[in-house]
Symmetry: C2
Subunit: 217 residues, 2 copies
């Protein structure tokens, strides 16, 4: 009922907030008033209702007894908290399979991440079309990033090149980096990094599969 925390939100919580938002977005867009309880959210996402309530206590939004949370309101607050209602200007570096797939993916644009530049080192790839864009050479990136006011850089290059690319992005004024490469990237504190590695996720999965066998018998 108070809900005036608004201090820093732990990142374990932030990660779940992104899922709550995805869940809230699955409800129709136009409809009138829908309500959802912490128990329902928990069930849909494989959590406990307690965790959900605790998490939501970090944002400035109250549920009401016997009804739960107003879906539309919840969604709006989550979008605000997560910056999903802003427009972010994004550049992708690395026009390999993954980079191209990301650049062409509409899901990001729908959520406010506008990809407006794609870069690669390989001359053979420069000039290729990516939706309405064309792949540019990496050497054009710094000017582009600072000129266009890019907020976020997505690093989709081989591990060995990742830190170099990141340094360029940072020097050009990017505020955050999504690192898809296998190597860890070091940044000054003012530049945020989130790492997302499919290979690591697959390895985690394969470990779990291997291990689950032993456990189940």
């Amino acid at each position: 009922m108070k809900r005036t925390k608004s201090s820093v939100i732990p990142s374990s919580v932030v990660r779940r907030l992104t899922e709550y938002l995805a869940y809230a977005q699955t409800f129709g867009n136009e409809n009138g008033d829908q309500w959802v309880s912490s128990r329902e959210i928990a069930q849909a996402l494989g959590l406990t209702s307690s965790t959900v309530r605790q998490d939501l206590s970090h944002i400035d939004f109250c549920g009401i007894s016997k009804r739960g949370y107003h879906v539309k309101g919840l969604r709006a607050v989550l979008e605000d908290t997560l910056g999903a209602n802003s427009v972010w200007r994004v550049a992708v570096v690395g026009a390999g399979n993954l980079g191209m797939a990301i650049a062409q993916n509409d899901e990001f644009r729908e959520r406010g991440f506008h990809i407006i530049g794609v870069f690669d080192k390989d001359a053979a790839k420069v000039g290729r079309s990516v939706g309405p864009l064309k792949v540019q050479h990496v050497s054009a990136m710094p000017d582009f990033v600072s000129g266009e006011g890019i907020d976020i850089g997505i690093v989709a290059v081989p591990a060995a090149a990742a830190q170099g690319v990141a340094d360029l992005l940072i020097a050009s004024g990017v505020r955050g980096i999504l690192n898809l490469s296998l190597s860890h990237i070091i940044t000054p504190r003012r530049v945020q990094v989130v790492e997302a590695r499919l290979t690591c996720s697959l390895l985690e999965l394969s470990h779990r599969i291997k291990y689950a066998r032993k456990e189940n018998k």
Copy 2:
């Protein structure tokens, strides 16, 4: 010096083990004896040396004083622990941008994840080439999965279709699922799931950017 834990490894640790492996793999393949200390690993990955030592205490591998860890040995043990030395038979469902990019990505094959089937619901996509493969219609998936002994299914379809696809995969005998879709997937305990959502990572990043500003001033 004892190192006979071998009970269950917490998943926070497993996630880092995948990164240690990626790091160990950056060392040349052929060379003789290289050694690395917990401090070096920690520095490269942005952790503390204590965490690294604690994590490595979960696997059956000892460092030695004054030298650190033998890179080749460490790598071998990590590969074993994570199942990265096995060959996994993988099918991708969803031949959109992301699905196609994954199916064509060599990085996975190099690490033992052999993608041997790609499926989509959309008749227009069926028949397209993906490297040496061709996209097949989803209706062919169950027989293919059980016939070919697929271990892992990668779900790269829209959120609304994800659970249905997962259910099919599970019924056909898959042992693990990598879920790239925005919706949470429910599986029986014997089938492992790892979720990897680029959109959520981007949202986490945008939250951090938004918040960092406030903090820094």
